[in-house]
């Protein structure tokens, strides 16, 4: 390839990337930089590198909110990683075309409801009086909405809601990734006498590693920002689910209840650091940025 053609190709690439880059800078990078600036300054703009951080960490709600988010993330990420991969492999293994297609549609449907509206749906599912699952809830000893949303149940409830709304999309993505595995490798494995379980463990899983890491990184970023679910449940339960349940809600409270944008920014920056560190782990362990020079 000669030099000018190569150059032209690069500039066309830049044109394609530019709109994304502009919006990412305007609505991702710049707000993050502004948050970092706010987090190390006081109300009057004076430089206070640690004051905001120590203030929010000393807040009696901080560690309980962090614990809530951690529990939720633990349950949700584990469920995603295990169940999504399992279901995708099962769907992929289904030979009957119509069954496989309808299973994918079935998994994907809940994800078609936009975030807040799907949570609204769950408000009814969780109320034993209105819920189609009412008898089940009552059989588990929960006869009122307040009993269902006892504090100890919340991480599980939020994880179920998030899984229900988000997992379908990932199953489709994993299904696509499974389709990408070359049939030759699969054939070879089968000829060597591998059963479906062995194929899954020794061929499909290792080849899905990057996709799993990708799902983990994106889900982690979304999960640490838990906000819509507890906020709506808080409104619906007349504050029995506190409005400072998650870290993101606490940041919101700082900004709009305490009128303390600097404290709010400090929480956001802490969240950013945690999410970056954990993402780095997933990226390196999952080999997400490795390029195949085959």
């Amino acid at each position: 390839m000669n030099k000018t053609r190569k150059g032209r190709r690069r500039s066309i690439g830049a044109v394609f990337v530019a709109p994304y880059a502009v919006f990412m800078l305007a609505f991702g990078v710049m707000p993050a930089l502004y948050a970092i600036y706010l987090s190390v300054t006081d109300v009057d703009g004076g430089f206070t590198p640690t004051a905001n951080f120590s203030k929010v960490i000393d807040d009696f709600r901080f560690f309980s909110a962090a614990r809530h988010v951690a529990f939720f993330l633990g349950i949700w990420l584990a469920a995603l990683l295990v169940l999504v991969v399992f279901l995708a492999i099962v769907v992929h293994a289904i030979r009957a075309r119509w069954l496989s297609a309808s299973a994918r549609l079935f998994f994907y449907l809940p994800g078609a409801l936009a975030g807040a509206s799907s949570v609204m749906l769950w408000l009814f599912v969780l109320d034993p009086v209105a819920s189609p699952a009412g008898p089940l809830l009552r059989a588990m000893g929960m006869d009122s909405f307040t009993n269902v949303i006892q504090p100890s149940h919340l991480p599980l409830i939020f994880a179920i809601i998030a899984f229900w709304t988000g997992a379908g999309g990932w199953i489709i993505v994993m299904y696509g990734a499974l389709n990408n595995i070359s049939t030759e490798i699969m054939e070879a494995a089968r000829i060597d006498g591998a059963n479906p379980v062995q194929v899954a463990i020794h061929i499909q899983l290792p080849l899905l590693r990057k996709w799993i890491a990708y799902m983990a990184v994106l889900s982690l970023a979304a999960g640490t920002q838990l906000f819509v679910e507890p906020s709506l449940l808080s409104q619906a339960s007349n504050a029995v689910v506190p409005n400072d349940y998650s870290l993101n809600q606490l940041a919101y409270q700082y900004a709009f209840d305490l009128n303390d944008f600097n404290g709010s920014a400090a929480i956001s920056v802490l969240l950013l650091i945690v999410a970056l560190v954990l993402s780095a782990v997933f990226v390196t362990k999952g080999g997400l940025f490795e390029t195949e020079d085959v």
Partner: protein, 455 residues
């Protein structure tokens, strides 16, 4: 593998940077501040006044008739109505939006209705040297004669450090509502004290299970039972000082009564605004301690208990043995005038009209007016409707009995109760045993909101 040359990469990033700065500038627009302001002698610095400018008023859906009544009475004054949620149910939207306008330096409405009564605690305090939102009203903006016409204690939620910063729309004093016909049928007398109330509750549980004497399922439970027992859980002693003392006899007696009656099931754990409550207890509410607005909200409401004409009675607040009777309070809206208003004269006229004029408060207002003269006429109008089984003197008596030892801090006592006590009650635990937990939660919340907790 292709490698992008570092120099080219730098150039591309530079290009993107220029593009994005342009985009941000276009998207956000440029704000300017720098308005003419002067001290009008009313205790805050005033924006340049324009007598003909339109006033913007924020109201909840229920208060829209108030604006219409004002426009009918004052067709020459231009009013723009913005409907919002009234900051109800802890949405805090009034505070949230004003803090955003404070940051932008413009955009404030002229008059705001809030269904909450703790807004004065933040609206009178400027953040970072900015002018507080609420205009002071008792230094000439609203005539002293008007202010003194409000019921005793009605302006307490509006008063900060001796200054008055809002006008009260309606009172929400707690009384004892009862079903007169049911009481007669069962042969019970209306209790006069909380001890009698508790005894009656225990009796109902035995003799007529399924009937109730009240509810603890709502967030205002502490305001109905703890406030009216003089429990010192929320005593705001100074702008940013609060005393929280829940180990007193006053708190324990109320908590123990609630525990007993919840265990007996004569107090329901359901919120009165749930379909389940309406389904289970229509025709079975014998007694119900609660605010004045329960009359319209749950009793005389087709979609709620729908108590027929001639059955609902009201009695003045109950006393504890050997103590004087006081009332609690659950809400009661407030009207604020913006200190940034360009038309303070019309804004003040509006706020005065909607709180005091018969055309709204008596003819259209759903709640017990905070303005005494309007309240008298409102009560007469209600009595003449023939709906109630008794006169409404109980309501009038309660209006002047709201205990002033329970303050109006910037944080929500209802939210604290909901998240700490409600889950305990619904899982069958005792309130009395957890009064300490409650106090700790209040103190913690007070501290993060910048309050000093008096020891």
């Amino acid at each position: 593998m292709n490698r992008i040359q570092p120099r080219r990469l730098v150039r591309q990033i530079g290009l993107l940077g220029v593009l994005s700065v342009t985009a941000v500038a276009v998207l956000s627009g440029c704000s300017s501040n720098g308005s003419d302001s002067s001290d009008g002698g009313r205790g805050f610095s005033e924006a340049k006044q324009d007598k003909n400018s339109t006033i913007t008023v924020w109201v909840d859906a229920t208060r829209v008739p108030a604006v219409k009544a004002f426009q009918k009475a004052n067709p020459s004054i231009k009013v723009k109505t913005v409907t919002y949620d009234g900051s109800a149910n802890g949405s805090n939207s009034f505070k949230t939006k004003m803090s955003l306008y404070d940051r932008a330096g413009k955009g404030w409405p002229d008059v705001v209705f809030s269904s909450q009564n703790n807004d004065a605690s933040w609206a009178t305090q400027g953040v970072a040297g900015k002018q507080p939102f609420a205009a002071r009203l008792d230094k000439g903006l609203i005539p002293a004669g008007t202010l003194s016409g409000f019921a005793k204690g009605a302006l307490n939620p509006c008063t900060v450090d001796g200054g008055v910063y809002c006008l009260r729309n309606d009172l929400a004093q707690t009384v004892l509502w009862y079903d007169n016909s049911l009481l007669k049928k069962f042969g019970y007398a209306v209790p006069k004290t909380w001890e009698e109330y508790q005894a009656l509750g225990e009796k109902v549980a035995k003799e007529h299970p399924g009937y109730i004497v009240g509810s603890v399922g709502d967030t205002w439970t502490p305001e109905v039972f703890m406030w009216s027992s003089k429990c010192q859980a929320n005593d705001v002693t100074d702008i940013r000082k609060v005393t929280v003392k829940t180990d007193s006899t006053e708190c324990k007696r109320a908590a123990s009564m609630l525990d007993t009656l919840v265990a007996d099931k004569s107090l329901t754990k359901l919120s009165v605004f749930t379909p389940d409550f309406v389904k289970t207890y229509t025709g079975k509410v014998l007694l119900m301690p609660g605010p004045a607005w329960f009359a319209g909200a749950i009793f005389n409401n087709k979609e709620s208990l729908n108590v027929p004409k001639g059955r609902l009675g009201v009695s003045a607040p109950l006393a504890w043995d050997g103590d004087s009777a006081v009332a609690g309070n659950v809400g009661g809206g407030t009207w604020f005038i913006s200190s940034h208003s360009k038309n303070l004269a019309n804004a003040a006229k509006f706020a005065e009209f909607v709180t005091t004029d018969d055309a709204y408060q008596v003819d259209l207002g759903p709640g017990y007016p905070a303005y005494a003269a309007a309240a008298d006429k409102w009560v007469k109008k209600q009595e003449s409707s023939g709906y109630y089984a008794t006169d409404l003197s109980g309501l009038t008596a309660a209006a002047g009995l709201v205990w002033d030892g329970w303050g109006f801090p910037s944080f929500s006592q209802e939210a604290i109760w909901a998240k700490t006590i409600t889950p305990l009650v619904s899982s069958g635990k005792s309130i009395e045993d957890n009064l300490g937990t409650w106090a700790t939660a209040i103190k913690n919340q007070a501290k993060v909101n910048g309050y000093q907790v008096n020891e």
